[in-house]
C-alpha cells in the first residue's frame, strides 16, 4: 500500500515535471555529475538541490566574453530595425524620413545590462524497481534578473544624417522603440519553475575480477520533458525563457559508462541528447537580414523547429568508501543545435527571419567539482533511511552565444 502511494505520487510529479533551458547554464537536476549515487538498495530517493550563481561570464558569437546584451551583436542597429516593412507603414515612413544611411555607427546603440541574482532549486524523487530500473521526476525552480539596463548612442554628430537620426530616433531611443511596437527597453526579475522531466533509467553493473578494473556500469535513460516554466516574453528586452524548451515538449535520452577502478577511482562518460518538438507561438522576427536581435519590431506567429541539445560529460572521481568522502571532477560540454523559424504569414520572409543570431547554435564548456559525503558508512545496512550530501561548483570557461554563471550548490538526498 505504501509502495502504491509512492508510485502514485511519483507518477503525479512526473506529469508535472519541468526542466530548465538554455540561454543560461541553468541547473539540470538529473545531471549525472551532481546526482547522488543510486545503487544502495533502497526503493526511493528524494533529492533537494540548491544553487547560487556568481561571477558571470557571457560569451558572444565569437566566443569572447562580452556583456549579456551583446552576446548576439555588439550593438543594436536602430536603422535596420526600421527596415523590411511595407511601404507607407509608419515604420517605413520613419525610416525614409531619417534620410540617412547606415554607415555602421549611425543609429547604432550599445546596450548593456547585468544578469544577476541567479538562484536555482530542484526537487527530485526516484523510485527503484526490478533491481536495474528506476524512474525519476525532476522539478527545478529558477530565479534570474536583468538589471542595470543602459545604452549608449554611438551616433556621431558629424553631419545632417547624424543630426536627423539623433533627433528622430536615438535621442529618445527606448520610448521610440516601444512606440514602434518593439520590446520595453527595461530590466526585469523573474522566478519560475523550469521544465518538469520524468525519466526512466536502466543500469547494470558488470563486475570484473581484474587487477585494475573492478566494475563496469552501463546506464541508459529516456523520458519526457513537459513545459511548465516561464517562457520567453517578446515584449520585454531579452526576457529569455527559464527553460530549455521555450514551451516545447521534449524527449531527453542518453546513457553512460562508469568504470570503477581498484584504487578507489571512478571514471566515466555520459551522453545525453534532447529532442525538442517544435511549437508555434508569437515571437519577434527579423524583417531585414541585418537587423539586430534585441530590438526587433515585428511580432508574428512562428513555428520554431528546435535544434537538438547534446550534452557530454566526462568525469573522474576519487571515491573513498571507507570514510564516506568523495571528490568528483568533471567536464561538461553542451551544444544547442541551431533552431529554425517557419513563419505563419507571407507578409515577411522566413528566410530573413531565419537569420536571427539568437537562433544559431550555442555551446558551453564548464568544469564540475563535486565534494560528496555519503552517510552510508555510518548507518547500518538495515537502516530505513540514509542521507547523502554534496557540495558542488560549476566553473564555466568557454562558450558561444551563452550566458554562464559560476555556481556553487548543495545536494541533499535521502534514500528510503
Amino acid at each position: 500500500m505504501i509502495h502504491l502511494r509512492k508510485k502514485i505520487i511519483a507518477t503525479f510529479v512526473l506529469l508535472l515535471s519541468v526542466q530548465s533551458n538554455a540561454m543560461m547554464n541553468f541547473l539540470l537536476p538529473y545531471d549525472t555529475l551532481i546526482r547522488p549515487p543510486y545503487d544502495l538498495g533502497y526503493c526511493y530517493n528524494t533529492t533537494f538541490i540548491g544553487e547560487k550563481g556568481f561571477s558571470p561570464l557571457y560569451f558572444d558569437s565569437c566566443g569572447k566574453i562580452n556583456n549579456p546584451l551583446q552576446i548576439w551583436q555588439c550593438d543594436q542597429d536602430a536603422l535596420k530595425m526600421l527596415e523590411g516593412f511595407s511601404p507607407g507603414s509608419p515604420i517605413d515612413q520613419l525610416r525614409m524620413e531619417l534620410m540617412a544611411n547606415d554607415d555602421g555607427i549611425r543609429g547604432h546603440i550599445a546596450l548593456c545590462g547585468d544578469i544577476t541574482d541567479y538562484y536555482a532549486l530542484a526537487f527530485t524523487t526516484r523510485w527503484f524497481f526490478h533491481d536495474d530500473w528506476f524512474v525519476e521526476l525532476d522539478v527545478p525552480l529558477y530565479h534570474v534578473a536583468l538589471k542595470n539596463v543602459c545604452w549608449t548612442d554611438l551616433t556621431q554628430s558629424q553631419n545632417a544624417e547624424d543630426a536627423r537620426v539623433k533627433a528622430l530616433l536615438t535621442d529618445n531611443f527606448a520610448a521610440n522603440v516601444c512606440a514602434l511596437g518593439g520590446p520595453a527597453i527595461t530590466g526585469w526579475e523573474r522566478t519560475s519553475a523550469g521544465d518538469i522531466a520524468a525519466l526512466v533509467n536502466w543500469f547494470r553493473d558488470f563486475p570484473r575480477r581484474r587487477e585494475l578494473l573492478t566494475n563496469v556500469r552501463v546506464n541508459f535513460r529516456a523520458g519526457l520533458s513537459v513545459p511548465a516554466g516561464s517562457q520567453a516574453d517578446p515584449d520585454v528586452l531579452f526576457a529569455f525563457p527559464l527553460s530549455y524548451t521555450d514551451g516545447a515538449v521534449a524527449i531527453p535520452f542518453g546513457g553512460g559508462l562508469d568504470l570503477s577502478l581498484d584504487c578507489s577511482l571512478k571514471a566515466g562518460f555520459d551522453v545525453q541528447l534532447m529532442h525538442r518538438f517544435g511549437n508555434t507561438k508569437c515571437r519577434r522576427i527579423k524583417t531585414q537580414i541585418d537587423q539586430s536581435d534585441l530590438i526587433l519590431l515585428q511580432k508574428a506567429s512562428v513555428y520554431k523547429d528546435f535544434g537538438m541539445i547534446q550534452r557530454y560529460n566526462l568525469y573522474v572521481e576519487w571515491d573513498q568508501p571507507v570514510c564516506g568522502f568523495g571528490l568528483l571532477g568533471g567536464y561538461q560540454y553542451i551544444k544547442y543545435g541551431e533552431d529554425k523559424y517557419n513563419l505563419d504569414t507571407n507578409n515577411y520572409s522566413t528566410g530573413v527571419a531565419d537569420t536571427a543570431e539568437s537562433l544559431k547554435d550555442r555551446t558551453l564548456h564548464q568544469i564540475f567539482i563535486n565534494a560528496k559525503y555519503d552517510f552510508s558508512q555510518r548507518f547500518a545496512d538495515e537502516t530505513r533511511w540514509r542521507p547523502y550530501i554534496s557540495v558542488f561548483s560549476r566553473i564555466p570557461f568557454n562558450g558561444k552565444r551563452i550566458l554562464m554563471e559560476h555556481t556553487i550548490g548543495v545536494v541533499l538526498a535521502f534514500d528510503f
Binding site: G88, N101, G104, A160
Partner: protein, 913 residues
C-alpha cells in the same frame, strides 16, 4: 582652414598627385609625358560600346604602330602592324601595313572582345583593302584584290570605307574610276566580304559583285552624279570633287547611310541615301525620301530644290532612343555648317521593305509592336510607320525636335570632327580648343523627340579633338587630338581631379554633404556658372566658369584660377569681391550658419532687382544679404569673381524652419521644403518678405505623417515627392498665387508600376539645364526607393507646356514605358535601394551610401536602358570613384561648366575628368 593654408595644401596636392590624377595619357610609340604618338593619327574607329579604339598613322614612319589600338581598361596602345604577318594564308610575309601611311580605317564589330576585324586603306595605294583578322598570336592580314568600279574596271580608287557586322562580314567601299573624282560615271559602292571559314590558307577577303542588275563580273553599284537617288529631276547633280563621303552601316536596320557633298545642279538634289545588301547578292540604293517630298520649301536639310547650291552632308549616325524610336542623325545639310546637327525620324514596318530606313513623316503615328497572344502581349519594339512622302511630312530646320543642341552656339572657330551617339545623347568632338560637347533628346508624350537640350560642354576645356569614344561600361572618355605632327590620346579617370582643372576645386570642397551646380541660365546669375558645396556650417561657392562673349560659350575655370580663394568664418563677407580680392572660390562659415547647421540645401534667389544666396539646414534658413535686406544686382552681377558680393553682406535667418530638405528658387519666389511642410517665400519686397505655407504633412492628401522628400516647382506647377506618393498642383491651380494649401488641391500623380513606396528624388531634364525653367516640354525622372524593401525604380514623365498658366491632366504625363501591352511600367527597375539618380542621357548613374559593410558607391546602369527592357536588378556596374569609406549619403552632380561628373561625400569629392 586659412586661405593661405588651403592654397599651400592644394599646391602640395597638385605637386604630389598632379601626374597621377590628371587624365591618363595613353602610351603609344614614344616615351613621353605629353605625347602618345610622334605621328598624326587619323580619325579613330571604335566598337559600338567602346571596348576597343583603333587608329592609324597618316604618314609613313610609324613602323609597327602604323596601325594601333587600345583595349578597354588598358593604358597602352598596342602596335598592330608587325613587320611579318600571315598574309593571305602564307606565313612570315612582309606586312603591307607595316610602316605604311594609312588613309582610312573601318571596323567590323565582332561579337566577342577579340573578334573585331579592322579594315585599312593605304594612302599610297588606295585600290585594295587590308583586313586585320587576328592580332595575336600569329597576326593575320587578308588583302583583297584591287576593287572594281561600277564598270567593273580595276583598279578603282577607294574614297571611303565602312564595315558591316560580324553576321555578314561585309565591307562597303565608295570607289571611283582610277584617276577620277567620286561622282563621275563609274563611281559607286563596292562590296567585299571576309570569308574566314576554314583554315588560314582558305580564308579570303573576297570582292563581290555589288550590282545585281549586271552579273558580268565584279563591279560596284553605280552611284554618281546621275543617280536617281540623288537628283530630284532628270537633271544630274555634281558631287563635289574631293569632298568627304560619309558612310555609316547600322546593324539593326541592316542598311548603310551614305552622305555626300554636292552641287544641286539645275534642279536641286539630295545628299543622303540608303544602300543595303540584298539577296542573293549585291546592293540596292534607296532614296532617303521621294523627290516629291522636297518640293516647295528649301529647308529640308538633306535635300533642296534650289539649283546650283552646295548641299553638304558631312556625317550620318543612327540613334535608337530610350523610348524605342529610331532616328537618323545628320551633320550638315543645305545651308548648314559642319556644326549643325539634325535628327530625322526613320520609318519602319513598311509594306515594301525597301523603304524601311528612309525618312519617316514627322507626323507619323508611333506604333508599338508586341509579341504573344491574348492580353499579356509583351512589348517588342516601337516604330514610325509613315514615310515622309510630301513636303508637309518632311522634317525641316525649323522643327525644334530636329535641332540638336537647341540652337545654342558652339565655340566659334571650332569645327565638329566626329559625332558619337550614346543613348539619348549626341556627342561632338571639336577641333581648335573646342572640346567635347553634348546635347540630349527631350521627349514628348508621343515618345518622339520633342526638343533637344542646349549644347553643353562634356570635356576638354582647352583641347581640340579629332575623335574619341565614350566607354559606356565604365564612364571613361577617351579622346584623340593631333597637334604639330604628334598625337595625344587621353582617357578620363575618376580621381580628386586634374591639377590643371578641378583638383583645387575638389580640394576646396573637401568633405561635403551636398553639392549643387548652377549654369549660366540660372536666374540671378550673370555670365558665370557656380558650384556650391555644403558641409555642416560651411558653404563653399566656386565660380566654375565664365561666359566668353567672344566665343559665345562658357569657359571653365582652370586649376590655376581656382587657387584664388577667400574664406570668411563669421558668416559675413569682409571684402568687396570681384576686383581685389577676385577669388574663384569663396568659403563662408560661422555666424548664422552655425545656428542653422548642419546645412542641407541651397539656392540662388532673385526677384529681378536683387540676387541672394540662400542656405537651408536642419535648424533653419538663412539668406546672404546686405543690412537692408538687398542683395546683388542680377542684371550685371553676380559677375566675374563674385563681383556683387560686398563687404558687410551676411547670412541672416529667415523664419523658423527645421529639417529643410530642398530649396527651389523660381523668381521672385523661394520654395522651402522641410520634412513636414512646404513654404513659399515671396521676395518681391526684400524688406517685407511674405511667407505662405502651401503644403503640410498633416493635411490631406499627405496625412497621416508623410515626409516631404523632394520638391520641383516651375511657373504655376509644382511636384512633391513624399514618402506616401507623388503629388502635383491640382488642375487650374497656381503655386505662385495660392493663398494657402487648400487653394492648390494637391493631386496624386500615378506612378506606373509603383511597388517601392516612397518617392525620393525628382530629377528634371530641361532644355537650358536650369532645372526649373519653363521651356517645355521637359522631362522629369522620378526615383522611387525604399530602404525597407531594398528596392527602387525610375519613372519618367513629360512636363508639357502649361497653356495660359492653367494646369490640366495633360500637364504631366507618364512616358509610355511598358513591358505588357496596355500597362504602363517603370522605365527602369533597380532591384535595390538607391539614394540618387543622375544622367546625361548617355550614362545613367545611381548612387548609394555606405550600408553597413557595403561601401558607398556610384553605379552605372547598363548602357541602353530602354522601354520594355530595363529590369536591371544587379546588372549595374559599380564605378570606382573613391567614395568608399565615406559615412554620409553621397551626392552626384554634373559640373555645368566643365561637363565633368562630380560625386562627393564625407571623404571628399571625386570627378571624372
Amino acid at each position: 582652414m586659412k586661405p593661405v593654408v588651403r592654397v599651400l595644401l592644394t599646391s602640395l596636392l597638385m605637386i604630389s598627385h598632379g601626374l597621377t590624377w590628371a587624365p591618363i595619357l595613353l602610351k603609344g610609340n614614344v616615351e613621353s609625358s605629353s605625347v602618345t604618338f610622334d605621328f598624326s593619327a587619323i580619325a579613330p574607329v571604335s566598337t559600338p560600346i567602346g571596348r576597343r579604339l583603333f587608329t592609324a598613322s597618316s604618314t609613313s614612319g610609324a613602323l609597327n604602330y602604323a596601325l594601333t589600338g587600345v583595349n578597354q581598361g588598358m593604358n597602352d596602345f598596342a602596335a598592330l602592324a608587325p613587320q611579318k604577318v600571315v598574309l593571305n594564308g602564307t606565313v612570315d610575309q612582309p606586312n603591307p601595313l607595316y610602316n605604311a601611311s594609312i588613309s582610312r580605317l573601318a571596323i567590323i564589330d565582332g561579337v566577342g572582345i577579340t573578334d573585331d576585324y579592322l579594315i585599312a586603306v593605304l594612302a599610297q595605294n588606295p585600290t585594295q583593302l587590308y583586313a586585320c583578322v587576328r592580332f595575336v598570336p600569329n597576326p593575320t592580314v587578308l588583302a583583297s584584290e584591287p576593287l572594281a568600279d561600277a564598270f567593273g574596271n580595276m583598279p578603282a580608287t577607294i574614297r571611303q570605307v565602312t564595315g558591316g557586322t560580324s553576321q555578314n562580314m561585309m565591307v562597303f567601299t565608295a570607289v571611283s574610276p582610277q584617276g577620277e573624282d567620286f561622282g563621275v560615271v563609274g563611281s559607286g559602292i563596292a562590296n567585299s566580304m571576309l570569308d574566314l571559314k576554314g583554315t588560314p590558307t582558305e580564308q579570303i577577303f573576297r570582292n563581290l559583285n555589288a550590282n545585281p542588275a549586271n552579273t558580268n563580273g565584279v563591279r560596284a553599284l553605280p552611284l554618281d552624279n546621275t543617280s536617281a537617288e540623288l537628283r530630284l529631276t532628270a537633271d544630274p547633280v555634281a558631287i563635289t570633287a574631293g569632298s568627304p563621303i560619309s558612310m555609316y552601316f547600322h546593324p539593326s536596320t541592316f542598311c548603310m547611310y551614305v552622305g555626300l557633298s554636292l552641287n544641286t545642279g539645275t534642279s536641286g538634289g539630295r545628299a543622303s541615301l540608303l544602300v543595303r545588301p540584298v539577296a542573293p547578292y549585291g546592293l540596292q540604293k534607296v532614296a532617303i525620301a521621294p523627290a516629291a517630298a522636297f518640293s516647295g520649301a528649301d529647308n529640308y536639310i538633306v535635300g533642296t530644290t534650289t539649283p546650283d547650291v552646295s548641299l553638304d552632308v558631312y556625317e550620318q549616325r543612327f540613334m535608337q532612343t530610350s523610348t524605342g524610336l529610331p532616328y537618323l542623325i545628320v551633320r550638315g545639310g543645305y545651308l548648314k555648317s559642319p556644326n549643325n546637327l539634325f535628327a530625322f525620324p526613320i520609318a519602319s514596318g513598311q509594306s515594301e521593305p525597301i523603304y524601311n530606313g528612309t525618312l519617316a513623316s514627322k507626323t507619323s503615328p508611333v506604333v508599338d509592336m508586341f509579341v504573344g497572344a491574348g492580353t499579356k502581349n509583351i512589348y517588342q519594339s516601337r516604330m514610325f510607320v509613315e514615310r515622309a512622302e510630301i513636303p508637309a511630312q518632311m522634317t525641316t530646320d525649323a522643327d525644334v525636335q530636329a535641332i540638336i543642341g537647341g540652337g545654342a552656339p558652339l565655340p566659334l572657330g571650332s569645327t565638329v570632327q566626329e559625332t558619337l551617339i550614346a543613348g539619348d545623347t549626341v556627342f561632338i568632338f571639336l577641333d581648335n580648343n573646342g572640346g567635347v560637347w553634348y546635347s540630349r533628346a527631350l521627349f514628348g508624350i508621343d515618345n518622339k523627340i520633342a526638343q533637344w537640350t542646349y549644347w553643353q560642354r562634356y570635356a576638354g576645356a582647352v583641347d581640340g579633338y579629332i575623335g574619341g569614344f565614350l566607354d559606356r561600361s565604365n564612364t571613361l572618355l577617351t579622346t584623340l587630338s593631333v597637334t604639330g605632327g604628334n598625337t595625344v590620346a587621353q582617357r578620363t579617370v575618376w580621381s580628386p581631379g586634374d591639377a590643371s582643372i578641378s583638383l583645387p576645386l575638389t580640394t576646396a570642397f573637401g568633405s561635403t554633404q551636398y553639392i549643387d551646380s548652377y549654369n549660366q541660365f540660372t536666374p540671378g546669375l550673370c555670365s558665370s556658372t557656380l558650384m556650391v558645396s555644403l558641409n555642416n556650417n560651411r558653404v563653399t561657392y566656386a565660380q566654375t566658369g565664365l561666359f566668353d562673349y567672344a566665343r559665345c560659350i562658357v569657359v571653365p575655370t582652370n586649376g590655376a584660377n581656382y587657387m584664388d580663394t577667400v574664406t570668411y568664418t563669421q558668416g559675413i563677407i569682409e571684402d568687396n569681391l570681384g576686383v581685389n580680392p577676385a577669388p574663384s572660390i569663396v568659403t563662408i562659415s560661422g555666424g548664422v550658419l552655425d545656428a542653422i547647421a548642419p546645412l542641407t540645401a541651397d539656392a540662388v534667389v532673385t526677384n529681378g532687382t536683387n540676387g541672394w544666396f540662400c542656405c537651408g539646414g536642419l535648424n533653419g534658413l538663412a539668406i546672404l544679404s546686405k543690412e537692408d535686406g538687398t542683395g546683388w544686382n542680377p542684371t550685371t552681377e553676380l559677375g566675374a569673381n563674385f563681383l556683387g558680393l560686398t563687404q558687410g553682406m551676411s547670412f541672416k535667418k529667415i523664419g523658423n524652419y527645421r529639417f529643410i530638405t530642398r530649396l527651389v528658387a523660381n523668381p521672385p519666389y523661394l520654395y522651402v521644403a522641410t520634412d513636414k511642410k512646404i513654404d513659399r517665400i515671396d521676395f518681391t519686397n526684400p524688406q517685407d518678405i511674405i511667407i505662405t505655407t502651401i503644403a503640410t504633412s498633416t493635411s490631406l492628401p499627405f496625412s497621416p505623417n508623410a515626409t516631404f522628400m523632394d520638391l520641383y516647382a516651375s511657373g504655376p506647377f509644382a511636384l512633391i515627392a513624399s514618402t506616401k506618393k507623388l503629388f502635383r498642383v491640382g488642375n487650374g491651380q497656381d503655386i505662385r498665387t495660392a493663398l494657402d494649401e487648400s487653394d492648390l488641391a494637391w493631386t496624386e500623380v500615378p506612378v506606373p508600376g509603383q511597388q517601392t513606396g516612397p518617392i525620393t528624388r525628382i530629377v528634371p531634364v530641361t532644355k537650358t539645364g536650369y532645372p526649373y525653367d519653363m521651356d517645355a516640354p521637359s522631362n522629369i525622372y522620378v526615383l522611387s526607393a525604399d530602404r525597407g524593401l531594398d528596392a527602387g525604380q525610375i519613372n519618367r514623365y513629360v512636363l508639357n507646356a502649361i497653356e495660359n498658366n492653367t494646369i490640366t491632366d495633360a500637364t504631366l504625363v507618364p512616358f509610355a514605358d511598358m513591358f505588357i501591352q496596355g500597362i504602363l511600367s517603370p522605365w527602369v527597375t533597380l532591384g535595390a535601394y538607391r539614394d540618387d539618380y543622375g544622367s546625361d542621357g548617355a550614362l545613367n548613374f545611381t548612387i548609394s551610401g555606405q550600408d553597413l559593410a557595403k561601401p558607398a558607391s556610384l553605379q552605372l546602369l547598363p548602357s541602353a536602358p530602354r522601354t520594355g527592357g530595363s529590369i536591371l536588378g544587379p546588372r549595374v556596374t559599380p564605378i570606382q570613384t573613391g567614395l568608399a569609406g565615406g559615412n554620409s549619403v553621397p551626392v552626384l552632380v554634373h559640373n555645368d561648366a566643365s561637363g565633368s561628373w562630380f560625386v562627393g561625400g564625407s571623404n571628399g569629392v571625386f570627378v571624372n575628368e
